[in-house]
Point group: C2
Chain length 348, copies 2
């Protein structure tokens, strides 16, 4: 859990540079202590990054790794997470060029870059490191329910869909708590979270019998904190990822949940045949699944109002508060003080 | 999905020879078309197998593999599934002796026997096969919800705990349906089921992002059947295995569920701090989790009344029927005709 050395990153986004697809790029630029010196994206080279993704003022976009070398980068970060995680062939040239030019590789893909013979050999020849963020530690145990015995207040973000604001909400709450001098920790469970925090386990990439065990290990390893903010994954009614969501819940055994939702989204992302369920329905399901083992309540609603005006967002927030009788906010637009007011009295 | 050749098995149980721990041995003896010629268990050598586990009349128990060779076995089956699946050191001698005496190895452990350098080398030298049943096929896709479009009636067994009768219930319903000339198929999702059926995927051993995808692949590959009986796993309120249970549900997208329960069990097996929830509570949870994607109801209650007299079992069955308003039975004691009466009108 020691922080890794501070890096100078270039981020590969290659045609997926928009606020939804480039989640990793956006979040690393927004939250990571490493410096992002350039973005590689031949479809957007020369354009204004901040105008496209809302963050990254002044960071240039180039077509090729070679064009960034005058900025002294030390690592290439593969900054997009395609469905399923496989490595597109077109990116191989960028990875090769990076290794040939003495850049380390950081990847959150399902396919391990370090297992690729060509890249492993290039890295070895150039004494470079390939950091496959999703690779789980050895010997993750089976879950036992022991997270319950940890004194820390465990807050897990859940949601009505994937990729809807759970990581951002957990980070914003952690940062707001730290500002109040609360001994808080962000617990990363996905590749982007791990890149930002410098530690964590990608629970979607462990053998399925060990999902809860991985989450439990994250909690037990951080038992000294007062307030653990566990990054949620997926949702419990999902045709692909519900297993990960539920295993994470039962490994964490949280006392509190924050539910994340995007008002404009009507169907599951990438699964358009499946509707997003109403927030109260998902709240009830999560509470019923959690409560047999541990008293647990949803404590607030985190709305992702990206693209709305502040007054439109306020209307959605008021609507969510009426529907759920819970405090609601958009963490990016209006901060998370409302959540802290509810959570702080519950901390040990 | 072609059936493997018929084998002559010896089963290693090594001190775990009781009805609960030797689930694989019991079920392989009961249901598998391969012949079991002996059991290896130095703690029970010379004893009467049927008296210990209720099946296997006349099958001898020996201490060592060598003592079984006059019975012409061709494979050693590792017949117990310890928690977490790791390979106990004491079993290595039996595996070594088997390979040295020209026996193939069949294992359902998490630890792949074929990845062990010593065993892999011994197998290669002796032209033997090590069949790690839990090893998933390559390239399992992410779940998409496509199982819903398959015409077959998909019946999934669920339960109030692990190791409570889901596989047995699915097999008994399949066999009873076949007797009625229904085009039924048992869909194995765990190591014992795969050993019995000769095909399947151990869904607890795929990368967690692909649990639903694995279940969905099993369904799509068997779309030609009218009645698919999918072997359930775990339960949705469990400190270790809930993720696997829910992923299996959303990959299968069943129209019907049978809930399995053991009346004498009051706490989760191996997790004594956690109570077994009432059957109606688990029924409601499963239906709420399934129904957003696919109309789905629990259709019956399968009780595991092992160790009870028939009249005690009947009292439990009547109690379950009163509590749930559903047909209940113990498949081993009283068969599954009650379930077939309900299911048959629902088949395509």
């Amino acid at each position: 859990m020691n922080s890794p050395p501070k890096r100078r990153l270039i981020i590969l986004t290659e045609g997926k540079l928009d606020i939804h697809s480039a989640k990793t790029a956006v979040s690393v630029i927004r939250y990571c202590r490493n410096e992002v010196v350039a973005v590689i994206d031949r479809f957007n080279a020369g354009k204004n990054l901040e105008a496209i993704i809302g963050v990254g003022k002044g960071i240039p976009i180039f077509s090729k790794v070679k064009e960034t070398l005058h900025l002294n980068p030390d690592s290439l970060l593969i900054g997009i997470a395609p469905m399923g995680g496989a490595l597109p062939d077109t990116w191989r040239a960028h990875i090769r060029e990076s290794l040939q030019n003495k850049l380390n590789i950081i990847s959150g893909l399902h396919t391990y870059i370090g297992d690729d013979l060509e890249f492993a050999q290039l890295a070895a020849e150039n004494r470079l490191h390939i950091y496959d963020v999703r690779k789980p530690p050895e010997n993750i145990p089976v879950g036992t329910g022991k997270a319950k015995e940890v004194k820390a207040f465990r807050l897990l973000t859940v949601g009505t869909d994937c990729n809807i604001g759970k990581m951002v909400t957990s980070i914003e709450i952690t940062n707001a708590a730290k500002k109040r001098n609360i001994d808080a920790c962000f617990v990363a469970t996905g590749q982007t979270g791990i890149l930002i925090e410098g530690s964590g386990i990608a629970v979607d990439h462990v053998i399925s019998d060990f999902i809860s065990g991985a989450a439990e290990k994250l909690i037990l390893d951080r038992a000294q904190y007062k307030f653990l903010n566990v990054e949620g994954q997926g949702t419990v009614v999902h045709p692909a990822y519900s297993g990960v969501s539920l295993g994470l819940l039962h490994g964490t055994l949280p006392q509190g949940l924050i539910i994340c939702h995007q008002p404009v989204r009507k169907t599951l992302r990438h699964f358009e045949k499946f509707p997003i369920l109403p927030i109260p329905h998902i709240i009830e399901l999560y509470e019923r699944l959690a409560q047999p083992f541990q008293p647990c309540k949803v404590l607030g609603v985190s709305l992702n109002c990206y693209g709305m005006s502040d007054s439109e967002a306020m209307r959605e927030i008021e609507k969510a508060e009426r529907e759920t009788k819970l405090p609601a906010t958009d963490p990016i637009k209006f901060g998370v003080d409302k959540f802290l007011e509810v959570i702080q009295p519950l901390l040990p």
